[in-house]
């Protein structure tokens, strides 16, 4: 399978998939909590949280990457303690690429989930309460099934965004083959050297195929679930 890709190219693809997978999986529960808070709760600083979540969407990715470096770098305000206490290092590791991808994809994920939560009729949750379901049970048996299409859409959107993340990643964790060289970084690197166009073209095709597959999958899953929960 790998003979039509050089080891370097293959490593970039595998790394990108790994980075995107973990970025999506880890940010799912956090994204759901933030989306729920923004959709349903009233609290002090709600607009601040909303702004903070959306900031990576508007800031130049290089700025986000630099801020991540300042915060989660080895000498960063948070990074030094993570290293000291948990041995968790982000700088110039694949975990850092995952963190950068997660931060950049977070607004898209939260947005999709928030819209889904806002579309749930609170009257249904009220009805579940009168039938004896406590708040956590209402969430698990009514709210969660109804927002599942939104969660899946958010996750796939985040995965696709993570696959394509470039600016913040290269700023935060650089472009080390096998370590932090994701698909976009690799394409960029191949285009910088003479004769690298072939490699770049192969990776471009792979990027297109993965993006397309993700999109089709998300459409298909969302449709199947929407059919199920529309009550038809």
């Amino acid at each position: 399978m790998t003979d039509w890709l050089t080891p370097n190219e293959w490593r970039a693809v595998a790394l990108s998939l790994r980075v995107s997978f973990w970025a999506t999986v880890v940010s799912l529960p956090i994204g759901l909590l933030v989306a729920y808070a923004l959709a349903r709760w009233n609290f002090w600083g709600k607009q601040l949280l909303n702004g903070l979540v959306h900031l990576p969407l508007i800031l130049p990715p290089v700025v986000t990457g630099y801020l991540l470096l300042l915060t989660f770098g080895r000498k960063g305000t948070v990074g030094q303690y993570l290293d000291e206490w948990f041995g968790l290092v982000f700088a110039f590791r694949w975990t850092g690429a995952a963190l950068a991808a997660a931060v950049m994809a977070f607004p898209l994920m939260v947005r999709a989930m928030r819209l889904a939560i806002e579309a749930v009729d609170p009257k249904l949750e009220q009805a579940a309460g009168t039938l004896g379901a406590s708040k956590p049970w209402v969430f698990l048996t009514v709210t969660l099934p109804l927002i599942l299409p939104g969660i899946i859409a958010g996750a796939i959107l985040a995965f696709a965004k993570a696959m394509g993340e470039f600016g913040a990643t290269i700023t935060f964790v650089s472009n080390i083959p096998g370590q932090t060289q994701t698909l976009p970084s690799a394409i960029y690197a191949f285009l910088q050297v003479p004769g690298g166009e072939g490699s770049a073209a192969r990776l471009v095709w792979i990027a297109i195929v993965i993006a397309m597959a993700a999109l089709l999958l998300s459409e298909w899953v969302a449709k199947a679930i929407a059919r199920r929960i529309s009550g038809q």
Partner: protein, 363 residues
């Protein structure tokens, strides 16, 4: 089996201050839109937090603000049937029906089979709510509430969103529930026909207050309650028994007030019926009318006379222990020199059957 309710709540521009007791059977909360009926059952079910309130069901306190007792909705076990049914769209009818079972205390209650049979929803079980008609949705919602094993049922105008045909489809099921399950039922409605048919007790609400409360027949024939009921709705509610099917197509009913003839009622002899005689369908005469087309003429005695602010007068009549209400003009009342104790003949222009069966089994 009884429910005590006492609530005070202040909204912007609206004051609720009610207290009533609901014995077992159907208690109708009757009143115009905006009189506070739904607010009352929301407070009973825990969906609204009143400023002051006490709700006890069979001696169990659901709410007592003065003692800081406020059970959350899921611990109150008030089976609530909403106007808009609120079935869970992602679950099948069967899953909807069994939803409350997960959380209900594990004590023997009504079985799924019994409810499915009682509500006639067996063919719907594997369907999803989106594929049901309005009437079917409401029957499933009623079944779902009952299967959650509630202390009491609260129905908020369950028929309001339905057309007449669907209403007629559901009412018999509600009658069966009332007669066969021994649950107190709070029934919010502004349709007198439903109340006359279903309710054992009526709580008449006006602008956030209880205007009158008591057994249905007493309230419907109470001249004092008539303005609140709507003058067109005031009238007597009698229990009668099918006594004979005459050959010319009429059915004879026997009640304490005397025999009544109605166009054929397809019910076996001995069936108990609830019949309504609206006050505006009653004429009075001081001598037995002759040469008149009306079949149903009862000899009665005037109990009391209530003059309204307009030209109308309500006369309450005693018919061998039953009460009949007549709405006539003040001029007629004076011309006939009506006074309490005076015997008069009561001519019934129309009698309607409020309900196929009163569900009281003769023993």
């Amino acid at each position: 089996m009884s429910l005590q309710v006492s609530l005070k709540h202040r909204f912007a521009g609206f004051d609720l201050d009610v207290a009533f007791e609901a014995p077992s059977g159907v208690t109708a909360l009757f009143g115009r839109s905006g009189s506070g009926k739904t607010t009352v059952i929301n407070a009973v079910a825990g969906l609204l937090r009143p400023d002051h309130g006490l709700v006890t069901s069979n001696g169990i306190t659901l709410l007592d603000r003065s003692r800081g007792i406020e059970l959350p909705p899921h611990q109150r076990r008030v089976g609530y049937v909403f106007q808009d049914s609120r079935l869970f769209p992602h679950l099948t009818v069967r899953q909807n029906l069994l939803y409350g079972r997960w959380f209900a205390p594990k004590e023997p209650g009504v079985s799924l089979d019994r409810i499915v049979e009682l509500l006639g929803i067996a063919p719907l079980l594997s369907r999803r709510p989106g594929a049901l008609s309005g009437g079917e949705k409401q029957r499933v919602a009623i079944g779902r509430a009952i299967l959650s094993n509630p202390r009491l049922l609260a129905l908020d105008e369950p028929l309001a969103a339905l057309d007449e045909a669907r209403k007629a489809e559901i009412l018999p099921y509600l009658e069966r529930l009332r007669d066969e399950l021994h649950l107190p039922i709070l029934y919010v409605s502004h349709a007198m026909a439903e109340v006359a048919r279903l309710a054992n007790t009526v709580v008449l609400m006006e602008a956030g207050r209880v205007a009158a409360a008591g057994p249905t027949a007493d309230i419907l024939s109470d001249p004092d309650a008539a303005p609140g009921l709507g003058l067109r709705e005031a009238g007597a509610l009698l229990t009668a028994t099918v006594a004979a099917q005459d050959e010319d197509g009429l059915t004879r009913l026997d009640c304490a007030a005397g025999p009544l003839w109605l166009p054929r009622i397809a019910a076996p002899l001995g069936t108990d019926l609830r019949i309504r005689i609206l006050a505006q369908d009653v004429m009075l005469a001081t001598t037995r009318p002759e040469g008149i087309s009306a079949l149903n003429i009862l000899s009665t005695t005037v109990r009391d006379i209530r003059h309204g602010t307009g030209p109308g007068t309500l006369v309450r009549l005693d018919a061998h222990g039953e009460t009949i209400l007549a709405r006539i003009t003040r001029r007629s009342a004076e011309a006939l020199a009506l006074a309490p104790g005076k015997p008069v003949f009561t001519v019934l222009k129309a009698v309607s059957v409020a309900q196929e069966s009163v569900g009281v089994k003769r023993t």
